[in-house]
Symmetry: C2
Subunit: 297 residues, 2 copies
């Protein structure tokens, strides 16, 4: 990727801040400007080195930009993209970081100017924490970033979005928006709903008896409520299907348990274990003792 | 606790091996002997320093012991306790590490000699890994160990079991066996079943789109199948109640989602988050970057 001029980051939280840190750590842009509603948060982003400058408003933030990256909550992304397209130069690339894609792509593509600049993206990276204070320059390293172009996405914007996210050391995949949403309902949105349902089912007075399984299964239940409510609602159709798949596995367990079917329970467990054993994920910069096989310490 | 003479560990896997390493690291016993069926596993335990010696059989392992700790799978614990009681000296303390308690306590207390020596225990510590190679001298440090004495447990055995587990730096709690099983169904057994149901509902071809939430929610689905099948079946009644509590939270979510009730979903999420936010757990010796709040790295 050629060195970029100005990159505008709209919404400088965990994801937007990490985009800024990653760009600046790699010297990929002349200037990274932050756009947002909360001056204190933008000041913190600048102090932490996630942005070079704070834009006085969205229009002045994007008017001379090469790339605008929209990292706001999903319910605001489409609207921000339309405003950015109206204010930005002809050659602008607009990309985003929303966890759902169909509704955003549909809304942005309804506007011809926005459509000519846009390539939707979803970096599969995050944390139960939020805010720029948790941002990391290596958040996208080795992580998947799914681009969801359609027949109407200009090929040069797809090419430039691919180069942009690759430059942050992400692994870029492409997928139709609806297929993305169906897959992510299973791989991300359902796990969040399940974690929260579990956390809500266990009374607080029992927590002294909870250990590592509880800790990990419920970790993401500490995530931001409104952020996740928006994602669930934006992906309602796929969530219903994902919930049905999960419920069916759980009912199978209940039935085998009621029948005292030991061999059936082992087989049920092994089916899931065979899938889980094929998953590998190494958080960047992580040296997690629970992941590493090791002798006594 | 006075220094112990011989401690016999019956079943030298992750838990038994960690008991051995913890005893030896602290110099708490003259001699730690391992009892088990698999000579190769016992040889490994000795090589790793979890035991001083390998007992030729159970009888010779316990005949001169002060303490016998039964760390076999739950379905075998009661029977091992009865055999140990028959072979061991009058003054022997028998304790165990089973994840369920009611059935074990009932079976052991049916035998007067075994009853006079026994105080049941459940150290809430473990891992999705198993085997002595994953054992750690600090596995019990700061962890809860639940003792489940009954009216028939001799008070000196309760006292000695308390001192024993405290000497490994565990926090000792006491609770009735049935209350333990009901609580652990919620705090441990249900999370395992939910993790496995989730892992089984997500097709392997979607794993490249899975991230940190999937990783953590499904981690324990990689645990040993027969071990967990035994636990579920040994705690069937409490598991049914725990599953009902979970299902009810999940159905609430489904209903709010179907209704598009944004405020309701936020409230539902916040109820769970308020509980989860009160949980704290620091794995011993851990320096987990995902737990520590931190700036970019």
């Amino acid at each position: 990727m050629d060195r970029l001029g100005t990159v505008a980051i709209v919404g400088v939280g965990l994801i937007g801040g990490s985009v800024g840190l990653a760009l600046r750590a790699r010297g990929l842009a002349d200037r990274v400007v932050g756009v947002g509603r909360d001056p204190a948060r933008l000041a913190l982003a600048k102090k932490l080195g996630a942005i070079d400058d704070i834009a006085p408003d969205l229009v002045r933030g994007v008017v001379q930009a090469d790339v605008a990256v929209v990292c706001t909550p999903v319910s605001q992304i489409a609207e921000e993209c339309l405003r950015i397209a109206a204010a930005g130069p002809e050659g602008l690339l607009i990309t985003d970081a929303g966890s759902t894609k169909s509704a955003i792509v549909r809304a942005v593509e309804a506007d011809p100017r926005a459509r000519s600049m846009f390539c939707a993206a979803h970096p599969i990276a995050g944390s139960e924490r939020h805010g720029v204070a948790s941002a990391r320059a290596d958040l996208f390293e080795g992580r998947a970033v799914v681009l969801t172009p359609t027949d109407r996405t200009p090929s040069d914007r797809l090419r430039r979005a691919t180069a942009f996210w690759r430059a942050l050391d992400a692994q870029v995949l492409t997928m139709r928006p609806d297929r993305h949403d169906a897959a992510l309902a299973l791989t991300s949105h359902l796990p969040h709903a399940v974690a929260s349902a579990l956390a809500g089912a266990i009374p607080v007075e029992m927590l002294p008896l909870a250990g590592g399984a509880y800790r990990d299964v419920t970790r993401v239940a500490a995530s931001d409520p409104s952020l996740w409510t928006e994602i669930f609602l934006a992906n309602r159709g796929s969530m219903v299907a994902a919930l049905a798949a999960f419920r069916s596995r759980l009912e199978m367990f209940s039935r085998l348990l009621a029948e005292g079917d030991s061999a059936g329970l082992v087989a049920w467990w092994n089916e899931a274990k065979a899938i889980r054993d094929q998953f590998s994920f190494d958080p960047p910069g992580s040296d997690d003792p629970r992941q590493a096989p090791g002798p006594s310490r």
